[in-house]
């Protein structure tokens, strides 16, 4: 509701204005002199929108009233009514802050126009005031939000590092300082290359800032900080993008995994110790059985030979299991994949295929290997790679019925060297597919019962693939065959390689 106050000493003017303005749906208050007008104004604080003020009044003059109004509320819009078109007084009133003037006599339309203009102005004023308050509120909210986030980040157990796109660290928390062994002053406000961060970390951050690839989301890596074996960190680095996908900075979250590493190491050492202790006596038992079975300790009856042969098969199974367990614990202890070198995978696979040939021929299985004449190098441990392919190919042969086919194909795809090991074997059930890389998982069916295995082979393969930053996938159809696909990133510095 719009409220207009008319201050005029003439009854006829007050009534006239009142009538004209009420017709337009505005509510009109009237006062017959300055003092009464000011009282009305103060009696309805914040309610009056526009004041029509006669300059020529007995008692307090219009100018004086105007002064009071302006001091009371500078936002109130005052339209002065000037008698006989005295331009000078109108100008003076305007100088004192009146919004507009209307000379007497005026027509109803003239009055409406002037008042309407003032009201529009009033509406704009209110809108501006509203926006100003909103903005103030949002700024306060942002400040609160910022303070809240800062507190959260500072209280976090995980380290946080944020860089702007110029590789300058703009945010770091106490946990990051602790983990990286760098005081806040060495991090905050410094450029990456001045901070003496672990090289792999700086590298990952720089890379995330420079990436052009929209699908690049984050990189995780393990870092070692301080003395060897002192602090192990897991670092997740991700670029920050604005609304149009430009990279504005990079966020890194650090987790201290030293404790986990320690546990893992203890576990692996324990497994290694136990398996060694287990293996030695079993090896001796098998040795003794071998000697008896070779009749070096005297004659053996047929029945005894049968029993002892079976006993030897059992010790053999145990020794295989222990061997796999040891392999696994070695991989987990990081001892297995230490000798990475530029490697020509074609050569490795060829050797494995050659060594498997007689096994395949025994089962009348057609074993093939194909590869393009030129293939990129990968950065890998030769023996681990032999292990992977020995495992995959011997599995393929094991699970393929006589007369079937096993073929290995090597190729390249994007930045990866990719190898497929396919067979026409019994296949793997859908529900088993997701679990075949689990430790000790073996698919038990009537068909597989006769096949010897420890259930560790594929989990060893998976561990090796992981340690090479590669990936392994499998597709399979029951009674039709299985294809394992392993891929490894190409060697990044191929100039160092020579076949």
């Amino acid at each position: 509701m719009t409220n207009i106050l008319v201050i005029d000493d003439e009854q006829i003017m007050r009534d006239g204005c009142s009538r004209i303005l009420s017709r337009d749906g505005w509510s009109v208050l009237c006062a017959q002199n300055g003092a009464q007008g000011l009282e009305e104004m103060k009696g309805y604080p914040g309610i009056i929108d526009v004041i029509l003020l006669d300059l020529m009044m007995p008692g307090m003059s219009g100018m004086e009233v105007l002064d009071h109004i302006r001091t009371y509320d500078p936002n109130l819009l005052v339209i002065v009514i000037t008698g006989y078109a005295t331009v000078e007084s109108a100008v003076e009133a305007m100088k004192k802050g009146a919004y507009d003037f209307i000379p007497k006599p005026f027509t109803p339309d003239q009055l409406r126009i002037v008042v309407r203009r003032a009201l529009e102005r009033r509406a704009l004023q209110k809108e501006a005031e509203f926006l100003r308050k909103e903005r103030e509120k949002s700024l306060r909210d942002i400040a609160t939000e910022k303070s809240k986030i800062k507190t959260i980040i500072n209280c976090m157990g995980d380290g946080v590092l944020v860089c702007d796109r110029d590789s300058c660290i703009v945010l770091s928390n106490p946990a990051a300082s602790r983990m990286l062994k760098a005081p806040e002053t060495c991090l905050l406000g410094n450029y990456l290359n001045q901070c003496h961060l672990p090289q792999d970390l700086s590298h990952a951050i720089e890379e995330s800032l420079q990436t052009k690839d929209m699908s690049y989301t984050s990189v995780s890596q393990e870092l070692s900080v301080g003395e060897p074996g002192e602090i192990f960190l897991r670092a997740h680095t991700a670029p920050v993008r604005n609304d149009i996908g430009e990279i504005m900075g990079s966020v890194t979250v650090l987790q201290d995994i030293s404790h986990l590493k320690e546990l893992d190491k203890m576990k692996s050492e324990f497994v290694a110790m136990v398996t060694h202790e287990l293996r030695a006596p079993i090896a001796v038992v098998e040795q003794q059985l071998t000697v008896i079975l070779s009749k070096m300790a005297g004659d053996v009856t047929e029945k005894q030979e049968q029993l002892l042969s079976r006993a030897k098969e059992r010790t053999r199974g145990l020794l295989d299991l222990i061997k796999d367990l040891l392999d696994l614990s070695k991989i987990e202890a990081g001892k297995m994949v230490q000798y990475k070198e530029p490697l020509y995978l074609q050569e490795v696979i060829q050797r494995v295929v050659d060594s498997m040939r007689s096994e395949a021929e025994n089962k009348k299985i057609d074993l093939q290997f194909s590869s393009p004449p030129k293939i990129s190098f990968i950065h890998a441990d030769r023996n681990s790679m032999e292990g992977i392919f020995t495992n995959l190919i011997s599995n393929a042969i094991k699970y393929t019925p006589e007369g079937g086919k096993v073929w290995v194909h090597l190729g390249e795809e994007g930045g990866f060297v990719k190898a497929n090991v396919s067979d026409t074997g019994i296949g793997i059930k859908k529900e088993d597919l997701s679990r075949i890389f689990d430790k000790f998982y073996r698919v038990k069916t009537t068909e597989t019962r006769q096949i010897v295995g420890t259930g560790l082979g594929l989990s060893i393969v998976k561990s090796i693939v992981d340690a090479h930053l590669g990936s392994i996938t499998v597709i399979s159809k029951e009674r039709e065959g299985t294809t394992f696909t392993v891929s490894f990133p190409k060697e990044s510095n191929p100039t160092l390689c020579s076949p």
Binding site: H276, Q287, V291, S294, M296, A297, L319, N383, T390
Partner: protein, 127 residues
């Protein structure tokens, strides 16, 4: 004259089994039950070949082998390493590592197949 073979292994049961294999092929067998004893016997028994275990508590096979190979009098005795150090998912790892660490003439995994052991020994002795 029968060739003499010295077996050095801390496990008496294994020594016994290997002795039986070798004796069945008419080798003259001497035994030592530890690295230090093994080195002494290598001097006194003057064997034609030594079968040497790797994992022994007092002195391991690598150390024994190193001493044998640096002694001018014993350097020419062929050494066959008995490896209970589990051969790897791929066996070449062992060759590589051992090749760097020892000067053993050959190696064979425990437990040994009699024919394989005898064949290796014959090969080494004929060199």
């Amino acid at each position: 004259m029968a060739k003499k073979i010295l077996i050095i292994d801390d496990d008496p049961d294994l020594v016994e089994a290997v002795t039986m294999i070798l004796e069945s092929k008419n080798y003259d067998v001497a035994a030592a039950y530890g690295g230090i004893e093994g080195l002494q016997k290598a001097k006194t028994e003057k064997p034609d070949l030594i079968v040497l275990d790797v994992m022994m508590p007092d002195k391991d096979g690598y150390a024994v082998c190193k001493e044998l190979k640096t002694d001018p009098k014993m350097r020419s005795i062929p050494v066959l390493l008995l490896t209970a150090v589990v051969s790897h998912i791929s066996t070449t790892r062992f060759t590589q590592q051992m090749g760097l660490e020892t000067e053993a003439d050959d190696y064979i995994d425990k437990p040994v197949e009699p024919e394989a052991l005898v064949k290796r020994i014959e090969t080494l002795l004929s060199k």
